[in-house]
Amino acid sequence: MSAAPQKAKAGAEKIDVTVSAVVPLNDLVTRFEFTRNDGQRFPTFSAGAHTVVHMNDGGTPRLNPYSLMSDPADTGTYAISVRRDDQGRGGSLFMHQNVKVGDQMEITYPVNLFSLDLRAKKHVFLAGGIGITPFMAMIAQLERSNGNWELHYSVRTEALGTYVDQLTYKYPNKVHIYYDDQKQGIALEDLLDGQPLGTNVYVCGPKGMIDWVHATASAAGWPDANVHSEEFTAPQPGKPFEVRLCKSDKTITVGENESLLEAMEREGVDAPFLCRGGACGQCETDVVSSDGEFIHRDHWLEPEDHGKKIMPCVSRFVGKSLEIDR
């Protein structure tokens, strides 16, 4: 048991907020800014932290994690930038289509799964597309402490280069932009070669980019501890399945378009969670018995734990029976 005070409810503590600004940045990305309803300051956060935004989409609750991209020193406002995913489950579409200035929402206290290693002699940021968001906060934090950083940011086109203008204007010598449509790419091997000892690399972007950075750095002899990444997975739809919750003494059915975690919440089971994206490990649940195949989609469990444990936020099951310890 950790020394931290035990919370009565699952998930991080929530803050009631009002949407104070909605700023469309380009065709796909919009920034949302929040202020607190109680007039207090927001808690300071460490750059790289995310918040889980609670949405009420016509009665369907949607809880999506978004990186806080505002300056961590600004406790008056929190800001997130949301990329619209037309093929997604609807959270980002809801934000883009329904959320207006003045709306009341709930967001959670910040949780950081992607923090800066402040022992690093140098920080190299690698961003792909909307993966720029945590680096906006990291850059703000490091600029205050005169940190040694550089950013390599890959975007599809000039029109979709979220925050490119702002970044290149403020930090012309530290920011390097690569445009996919101009056949530009990060020359990663050359970039990693010759970095001073104590350099840390951070990557946020599509899964392929994250895997590429880890593999290239490992092959060049970089310690794993110096390569940081963050990837949130949205739960994917799948065939409905039945699951027995032995502690709650309930048998529930997980629908096609909901996650196991969401199905438990729908049934009133207070299951733990933090990131809801397969990254933090908070919702890890023991499997009591199973007859079928697991679809593990998290970034948390070790391969040897597959089948013994499941992360209900993103993983599913196909088969005859499943019983979990919840």
Partner: protein, 200 residues
Amino acid sequence: MSKFQFPESIKSRPVYGTLEPRPGKYHLMIADAEGAEAILDIAAADPSIMAKTHIIYIPRGTDFGAKLRALNPAQYYEGPSYAASVTRIQRVLQDAHMGTQVYLTGTEGLMGQAQNECMQAGIPHTAIQTEHRGSVARRMQCVHCKGITEDVETDPFVCSHCGLNLFVRDHYSRRLAAFQGVCIDAEDPGNVPEAVELYK
């Protein structure tokens, strides 16, 4: 026989492994005495890494020097003592880049002190390979006067600085690269158990 199986101990006590060749742009191997044998083993496992390897070796009375030189490393340095070699280690680390693999082997004192230099240069200790070879003597810090006594072979022992009789603990400091020695006869001065060789 230069290998020794340390008994299980408290979490603080360092655990050493077996050196293995790892991918890297540059390899820094630091060894003393019988640690040379571990370098000979790793060179036999992958002779190709020697072209990118800098060996810093402190013989401490052994005669492995000619064999190490025959591995044809990119650079070879032999120093009379760790204290005489540490400025070279610091200089090498100052110029080193990411992708450097570090291999430490020999006595605990050598590995601990060299690891400390590497950590200060920005290499996480989890990324530094170590393999114990040779003497099991320890580098001890007296918790009372803070003086370091090198190559302690018995428990208890006499602090080489303040003269207290010190009990050898497994409690270890990575920062000091030393085990902790605590006065054994503080309650009853003069009542000191007979010194026995470590691990006997």
